[in-house]
């Protein structure tokens, strides 16, 4: 099997396994990454929400925030896992498209 084919299979396996990255932190009751708290968490941690942070943190509304599907938050772990896998597929699909595009623009035409 060509190594490129093995790479693609490896990526597919990582996509399927990716919910480990969702379940493990939940299981061990670990919070957000340091410095990646939302405004609510900041209120609890620092006792106030800095003004600039409040203003800038709502600057961008990501379509799939935190690798989740909007509206599925309360539907339980299975939905979160499913949304995580969808996020991995959508993310990798877009990244491959963009990177292939950039690669084509930058690459020499010889094969």
């Amino acid at each position: 099997m060509k190594i490129i084919t093995k790479f693609w299979i490896g990526l597919a396996v990582l996509i399927i396994l990716s919910p480990i990255g969702l379940i493990l932190p939940e299981h061990f009751k670990a919070g957000s990454a340091w410095g990646e708290w939302g405004a609510d968490e900041m209120q609890k941690l620092a006792g106030y929400v800095p003004n600039g942070l409040k203003r800038l943190s709502i600057l961008w509304n990501a379509p799939m925030p935190d690798y989740a599907v909007k509206g599925w938050e309360e539907k339980g772990l299975l939905y979160l896992i499913f949304a995580y896998i969808i996020s991995a597929i959508v993310g990798i699909g877009l990244i491959v498209l963009v990177a292939m595009g950039i690669g084509r623009l930058l690459s020499k035409k010889e094969f």
Partner: protein, 230 residues
């Protein structure tokens, strides 16, 4: 290590975009000279790998979470300049689509994770594996050390970027405007988690994949690997 919107002030964000612009330009020029059409899929796979490995959040029980980036690994395979482009693509998609890292902080996040990490990791790998035969275990160790030090230098810099904010931006009464934690809190927090846990994940992932590739596809790691030379 993905700095969100609102943690860095406008000038800090501007400085890092300004720093990254020439880096991206040079990266494009160098990759344009060296990238062959048949190597384009490897560039895409490198970007996709970095993206998905960052989804594997590793917890410190009762504390914070973190993850590997795969920066050194992608740099060893593609060369550091192509790795810079690949990881930039991953970080931009993370920010735009998933809100992982702020759009105002794309410059800073790319500086830490798409520039410093792959370059530090790559040159440490090159130094330690200098003249090592292709089947040598020294290459595997070099990859692990490169990953470990690369991600820790990146985390250290992220800590400094966070920690400078209360000094740079505060109200007359001393309340922070952006990240409220100074250097004494931010640097040990960022460095601690990465030195103790996340750095080891990066090291193990980097070393294991390189070990596997040395066995199955040594041509990717030879003396003039893929994208670095012609």
């Amino acid at each position: 290590m993905h700095i969100p919107d609102g943690y860095l002030g406008p000038a800090t964000c501007g400085v890092f975009y300004a720093v990254m612009l020439p880096i991206w330009t040079v990266a494009s020029k160098i990759v344009k000279k060296t990238l062959k059409a048949k190597q384009v899929p490897i560039l895409a796979i490198g970007a996709a790998f970095s993206f998905v490995i960052m989804m594997f959040n590793v917890p410190i029980p009762g504390g914070t979470t973190g993850h590997a980036v795969g920066g050194a690994l992608v740099a060893i395979l593609l060369g550091p300049w192509a790795a810079c482009i690949a990881i930039t693509v991953a970080l931009v998609i993370q920010a735009l689509l998933f809100g992982d890292g702020g759009i105002t902080a794309i410059g800073a996040n790319c500086f830490n994770m798409a520039f410093v990490l792959p370059f530090v990791g790559y040159y440490i790998y090159r130094a330690i594996s200098y003249n090592a035969p292709i089947d040598s275990n020294r290459r595997v160790i070099a990859a692990g050390v490169g990953g470990y030090i690369g991600i820790n230098v990146a985390a250290f810099l992220a800590g400094i970027e966070f920690g400078l904010q209360p000094l740079l931006y505060h109200t007359a009464s001393g309340q922070a405007l952006y990240c409220p934690y100074g250097l004494k809190a931010a640097v040990p927090a960022m460095l601690g988690g990465h030195m103790l846990v996340f750095g080891w994940v990066e090291a193990i992932v980097t070393a294991l994949v390189i070990k596997y590739l040395l066995k199955t596809a040594p041509e990717l790691l030879g003396p003039s690997p893929s994208l670095r030379n012609k």
